[in-house]
Amino acid sequence: MEEIYLDNSATTKVYPEAAEKAFQMMTRYYGNPSSLHSKGLEAEHQLTAARKIIASSMNALPEEIYFTSGGTEGNNTAVFGAVNALKKRGNRIVTTAIEHSSVMEAMQKLEKDGFEVIYLSPDINGKIRIDDVRSAVTKDTILVSIMAVNNELGSIQPIEKVHRIIENAKSPALFHVDAVQAFMKMPLVPKKYGIDLMTVSGHKIHAPKGVGALYIRKGVRILPLHSGGLQEKGIRPGTEPVPAACAMGVAVDMLSADHERHDIILSLNSYCREKLSEISEVVFNSDNDALPYIINISIPGFRSETLLHYLAEKNIFVSSGSACAKGHKSHVLASVGLDGDRIDSALRISFSEDITKENIDYLILCLKNAVSSLARSK
C-alpha cells in the first residue's frame, strides 16, 4: 500500500540527492574542516558552499549563517545568547504564548532566573496582534522572540512590523524569529524585516535530522551556550555536522530552484479544505490565510490519537497537535481559546509537494469511514 505522508511539519523525507551528498561527505570528503591538511580543506570548501547556498536563500551573507544541530539548539542559542549579551541593559523579554517548546521552556527558565517575560496571547486564528507587541515592548526590553509560522496551526505572525516597534520604543532589544516552519515555504528575508536572529532547521525541508542554521545579523553579538573550539566563530563550538550541513545545502538549492512548488501546495491546500468541508463534523482550526503547508482541523467527539492510529492503519500519517508534544495537551490550541473537546480531537495535516489529489481523496474517504465507524469519546 502506498504511503501517504501528511506529517511534513514534523519531519520530511530526505531528498535522495541530499542523502547522496551526505554519503559522499562521509565517505569521500570525510576530513575535519578544522584540519590544516588538504583533506580538511576540501571538507571546508564543501561546507562553505553549503553555507553560501543557505545564505543566498535568505538574501544574507555567508558569514551570517551558523550551523547548529537543529531548531532546538538554534532557538536556545539565540534566546539565551541574546539575553546573556544584553542583560545589563534591561530585564524584560517579549514573546508569545504559542512558541515552540524550545523557546517556551527557555523563556520559563529565564523567568525563574528573574527576567520579566511577557507572553502575548494570540487571537482565535492563532495570530499575535501587532498592537499587543507595541504595548509590550518598552525601552528596557532586551529580546523580542516571535515565531514566523506557528507549528500547529500554520498561522503566520506579523513579524514584518516588529523591528519598527523596537526602534520606536528606543529599546536595545534583539529580534529573534523562530522560522523553522516558515523556512523555504514563504519569502523570508531577515534583513528586510530587521530580524537579528533567525532559526531554521534541516529536517523540515528534506535534509537529514541533526542539522540546522542560525542566522545572526552581521554586527550582532550574542554569547555562546557551550565552551569549546572556534568552529562557527565560537558561537557553536564542536566539529560541524558536515554531512548533514552539506545535504541541507543541496535541499535548499533544490527547493530554491523549484518555482512551481508554492502553487502546487496552494492548490493542494484549497482542494483539501474543500473536500474536508464535505464532512460535516470537521471544524477548521487553521485560518484561510495560514501557511498553505498546514491544515489543522478538529472532529469533535473523536480523539486525535484514535483518528491518527486509524489513519495509520490505512498508511496515512498525520499528527495530533505537534509531534514533539507526545501525550501532552497542546498549549497552542488552548491559548487560541479552543475548548477541551476541540483540542482533544485536533489533527494536523501538513503537505509536501509530492502529495497528489488522489492522496487527498483517499484521506477524505478514510476520514469519512472513521467518523461513521469509530466510537465517539465521551
Binding site: 484514535t306 483518528l307 492510529h309 492503519e313 501525550g327 501532552h328 469519546s377 465521551k378
Partner: protein, 389 residues
C-alpha cells in the same frame, strides 16, 4: 583470581520431603537464566549451590546481578577460590578482600572445614588467616563480637573458598514450583507488580494483553513488552498473548447500557484470559486489582467479574495502597515505563458514571444482548504471540 558465587537457599530448606524437587527446580532455573551470560557450572553439594563461570571472560558482576533476581535464593556471596594450602589461602584472602576492607573498620574470621584431611582445624585456620589479615590491614581491627564483616574460609574437597559480604537474594520460592498462571497485563503500574509478586511465590507466568487498535497505539503494546521484560528478570521467560479487542469493545458500546460498559468489558477479559490460560496449562489468573482503587475494583464489581471464570483469580495487590504498589514497582524498575502516557484499552470507552454497585442479574441481562461467542473465537484465532526473554 577465580571468583564464584555461593548461594544460600531461602524458604526451600523448610520444605521437608519436597526439598529435592525445589532444589532441582532452582538449579534448573539458575542454569537457564545464566545461559545468555555464558556457560557456568552449577553444583549442589553439602546443601550449598556454587555457581562457577567456565571461562575467565565471563563477567562475574553480571552473573551476580542475574542471581540476585532469581527467586528461591535468600542470600548469596561472591567467593574467591584458593588452593588448599594455608599460606596460599592467607595471601589470596588479603588480595581478594582489599576493596572490601577499605570500607570497613572491624572483622572476624570464621572457618569451616568439611575436608577433614586438611591439616589445620577450623579454629586454627581462623586464627592463621585472621592474624594475617590484621597484619596486612592495620586500620581494620579484629572484633569477634560485633564485626562489620565476617570473613568465611571454607575448606571443601576441591578447594578453599573465601568470602565475606553476604548479599540479599530475591527471596521467595523457585519459579515453576508453584504451577503456572496467566497475568492480565494492561500497561499500568499495578499489573507488573502483581506479576512479580506471584512469580515470587513460585508461579511461572503467561501474559495476556488486550489491544484495541486504533483506540490504542502500537506504542502501548511496546510499553507492555518493555514492562514484561523487566518482570522477566525475576520470573524468567514467558509468552505474551495480545488479544485483538476492538470489535468486542465496539459491540459492548453499541449494544449495552453505558454504565455497564466497564464491568462487561472486564468480564469478557476474564473469560478470554481463562481460555488462553487453559490452552497454556495455567491453573489460575492473576490481576493487579486493588480494592476500591477504581469503580471496577469495588467489592460488588469484583464479585461480578470473579464469577465470569471458573479458575482461581489471584489478586496479590488487593489490600495494598497505591504508594505501597509504587514502592515495589520502583524496586523492580517498572515504574518509569508504566507512567509513559499511552492510552490503554481500559480507558478508551470509559463511561462518565460507571456502576460501582452492579447487580449481577442486571449485568448478565445486559451481557446477553451480545452474541459474544463468535467474536471470542475470532479474537482467539487472531492472537498475537510475543516471546519475552
Amino acid at each position: 583470581m577465580k571468583e564464584v558465587i555461593i548461594i544460600k537457599l531461602g524458604e526451600i530448606v523448610l520444605k521437608g520431603l519436597n526439598r529435592k524437587t525445589f532444589e532441582d527446580r532452582l538449579i534448573k532455573n539458575i542454569k537457564h537464566r545464566l545461559h545468555k551470560i555464558g556457560p557456568c557450572k552449577v553444583k549442589n553439594s553439602q546443601s550449598i549451590i556454587t555457581v562457577a563461570p567456565v571461562f575467565d571472560d565471563i563477567d562475574i558482576d553480571e552473573v551476580a546481578d542475574c542471581i540476585s533476581h532469581i527467586f528461591g535464593i535468600a542470600a548469596f556471596s561472591r567467593a574467591c577460590v584458593a588452593e588448599k594450602d594455608i599460606e596460599n589461602i592467607k595471601i589470596t584472602s588479603a588480595e581478594y578482600l582489599k576493596d572490601h576492607f577499605d570500607r570497613i573498620t572491624s572483622f572476624k574470621v570464621e572457618a569451616k572445614r568439611s575436608d577433614k584431611k586438611f591439616p589445620f582445624t577450623s579454629p586454627e585456620i581462623a586464627r592463621e588467616v585472621g592474624g594475617y589479615l590484621a597484619d596486612t590491614f592495620p586500620e581494620v581491627t579484629v572484633d569477634v563480637h560485633d564485626p562489620d564483616a565476617v570473613v568465611t574460609v571454607e575448606i571443601r574437597d576441591d578447594a578453599a573458598y573465601i568470602h565475606s559480604e553476604v548479599l540479599k537474594g530475591a527471596g521467595g520460592i523457585p519459579v515453576g514450583t508453584g504451577g503456572k498462571a496467566a497475568i492480565l497485563i494492561s500497561g499500568g503500574i499495578d499489573s507488573p507488580v502483581a506479576a512479580y509478586m506471584m512469580a515470587k511465590r513460585g508461579i511461572e507466568l503467561t501474559a495476556v494483553h488486550f489491544a484495541s487498535p486504533p483506540y490504542t497505539s502500537e506504542r502501548a503494546e511496546e510499553k507492555v513488552v518493555g514492562l514484561l521484560e523487566r518482570v522477566a528478570k525475576y520470573s524468567g521467560r514467558m509468552t505474551m498473548y495480545t488479544v485483538p479487542f476492538t470489535k468486542l469493545q465496539e459491540e459492548i458500546r453499541d449494544k449495552c447500557h453505558e454504565e455497564y460498559f466497564t464491568i462487561i468489558m472486564r468480564r469478557f477479559m476474564m473469560m478470554l484470559s481463562e481460555r488462553i490460560a487453559k490452552q497454556n496449562e495455567c491453573q489460575a489468573l492473576i490481576t493487579g486489582e486493588s480494592l476500591g482503587q477504581v469503580a471496577s475494583q469495588t467489592i460488588g464489581a469484583i464479585a461480578c467479574t470473579d464469577i465470569a471464570c471458573d479458575m482461581p483469580v489471584f489478586r496479590p495487590l488487593i489490600g495494598m495502597d497505591k504508594e505501597e504498589i509504587i514502592t515495589i514497582s520502583r524496586k523492580i524498575d517498572t515504574f518509569d515505563i508504566s507512567i509513559q502516557p499511552y492510552e490503554d484499552c481500559c480507558t478508551v470507552f470509559t463511561p462518565k458514571h460507571p456502576r460501582t454497585r452492579p447487580v449481577l442479574k442486571n449485568v448478565l441481562a445486559e451481557e446477553q444482548k451480545i452474541d459474544y461467542e463468535p467474536l471470542f473465537s475470532e479474537a482467539l484465532q487472531n492472537l498475537k504471540v510475543t516471546e519475552i526473554n
